[in-house]
């Protein structure tokens, strides 16, 4: 198994180029959240040439809609949602500076092409391990689209958030490679 790599956003092109498919990565620092509805709103704003309510340059977006926080907790269970639903929006966000995405599941070819072109990275977190992942989230606050409830954009402060590089900026795809290795 590969060595653990530690990263903190914002990410530069150089940071992204150091990461390869299969690398196990621990993320510490501030990351953004966003899923279906928030992506559509960001996409529509860019299309209309308007300013975004958040700065995405060099940032990582985590595809998550957390469960409500119990009293005394900063957040409820918060595992990744399936990423392909964000595929129609992701290339435009990368064009505008987004450097990382965290989710689960395979990405479309246009997304993978955009990752190579704009030097971005896609991390897989463990789907369905929402209670475990919430332990790595130390603070959460809504920074845009509060009306969307669980789909609102949040800023999360994470410590050693464990992910695996599923797609790198060189065209590598862990889903394809992993499956090939174990197929019979």
């Amino acid at each position: 198994m590969s060595e653990l790599v530690k990263i903190t956003p914002p990410l530069s092109d150089e940071d992204v180029m150091k990461l390869k498919v299969g690398d196990r990565v621990l993320i510490t620092g501030k990351i953004l959240t966003g899923r279906d509805s928030a992506h559509k709103r960001l996409y529509d704003l860019i299309q209309k040439g308007k300013a975004l309510p958040i700065d995405i340059k060099g940032q990582i977006i985590y595809y998550v809609g957390p469960a409500p926080a119990k009293p005394g907790s900063v957040i409820g269970s918060a595992g990744p949602t399936t990423s392909y639903r964000m595929d129609p929006y992701a290339p435009l966000l990368m064009e505008h500076g987004l450097k990382g995405m965290i989710g689960k599941g395979v990405r479309s070819q246009p997304v993978r092409d955009a990752m190579q072109k704009h030097k971005a990275i896609y991390f897989a977190a463990t789907g369905g391990a929402g209670a475990l992942i919430a332990k790595n989230i130390k603070a959460a606050r809504i920074i845009a689209y509060e009306d969307l409830g669980p789909e609102a954009i949040r800023e999360l402060e994470v410590v050693d958030f464990p992910v695996v590089v599923a797609n790198d900026a060189f065209g590598g795809d862990l889903y394809e490679e992993g499956m090939k290795m174990f197929r019979r």
Binding site: P66, S77, T126, G130, A131, G178, M179
Partner: protein
């Protein structure tokens, strides 16, 4: 006619919603442990260990196993000699509202599929009702997450396709689903009936516990064969490659029209939530 107080139904359903989301089945825990032994991929083993740890945290802290606390799918078996005061459908929905609100479960239901806003309390539930002899009410709550539900499919096959056609369809459906439904998955298969009924059969199949084989030895063998074929795909835990793609495959069947051969595949993620109470 036996009468059950309205509040009893509400409280029972609320508890089932919470328990199903906090407490993973013992059968699933065992399957994870066996999976760690059998899994050849180190990443796969690591993911299965994370899932065991996740289940422990959810149980101890009473927090949902997964942030997607699902559509509240309710299987209601209503005895002929029992009635719920004030209406059982309303009571079930009030129970879902209470369970998802008091239990800090995520609310994921939009009031209208195109124009809708979040209903804010995870209602309405999807309720499948059957009548049964006796004076008991059996309620099963099976919260269903979106990621795995989206990988499900109904196919109106030709009778000539036969059981081999069914096998190919099921394996292909899992292959095309790849990492999306959060493998290791549980696969529910419906064969027979009509277009709408076959989907219900596939959903109902997901209520079985890991290792529970179909009573008909023919279908029991097909279940075992499909499990092996699916685990040979190499998809593995979370789709990152490995041997443990599915924990089990369950088939439910029904008589069919001479012209039709409906088959449905309903995929469940590894939490495979379902909890039952008898009132």
């Amino acid at each position: 006619m036996r009468e059950v107080p309205y509040q009893t139904i509400v409280d029972t359903v609320a508890k089932l919603c919470m328990d199903a989301n906090y407490f993973i089945g013992d059968d699933i825990i065992q399957a994870f442990k066996q999976g760690i032994e059998k899994e050849e991929s180190e990443t796969g083993k690591d993911i299965l260990r994370q899932l065991l740890e996740n289940a422990e945290i959810a149980k101890t802290e009473k927090v949902p196993l997964c942030q997607d606390c699902g559509f509240a799918v309710v299987f209601l078996e209503l005895g002929n000699d029992v009635r719920a005061e004030g209406g059982i459908i309303k009571a079930i929905n009030d129970g879902v509202r209470k369970g998802y609100t008091d239990g800090y479960l995520r609310k994921s239901i939009l009031s209208d599929p195109v124009k809708g806003k979040n209903t804010g309390d995870n209602t309405p539930a999807i309720i499948h009702t059957t009548l049964a002899p006796g004076d008991k009410i059996k309620i099963t709550v099976a919260p269903k997450g979106g990621g795995s539900e989206n990988m499900s499919e109904v196919k109106m096959m030709k009778p000539a396709d036969g059981i081999e056609g069914v096998k190919n369809f099921v394996v292909d459906r899992v292959l095309r689903s790849s990492s999306n439904p959060c493998p290791p998955i549980v696969v529910g298969v419906g064969i027979g009936g009509t277009f709408e009924y076959v989907a219900f059969l596939a959903k109902k199949a997901l209520l079985r516990n890991i290792g529970d084989r179909n009573r008909d030895p023919f279908y029991a063998d097909v279940e075992k064969e499909l499990l092996e074929k699916i685990n040979n795909l190499g998809i593995g835990p979370q789709g990152l490659g490995g041997r443990i793609t599915a924990l089990d495959v369950f088939i439910e069947t029904h008589p069919r029209h001479i012209a039709s051969f409906p088959v449905a595949v309903n995929i469940n993620c590894h939490v495979a939530r379902h909890k039952t109470a008898i009132i």
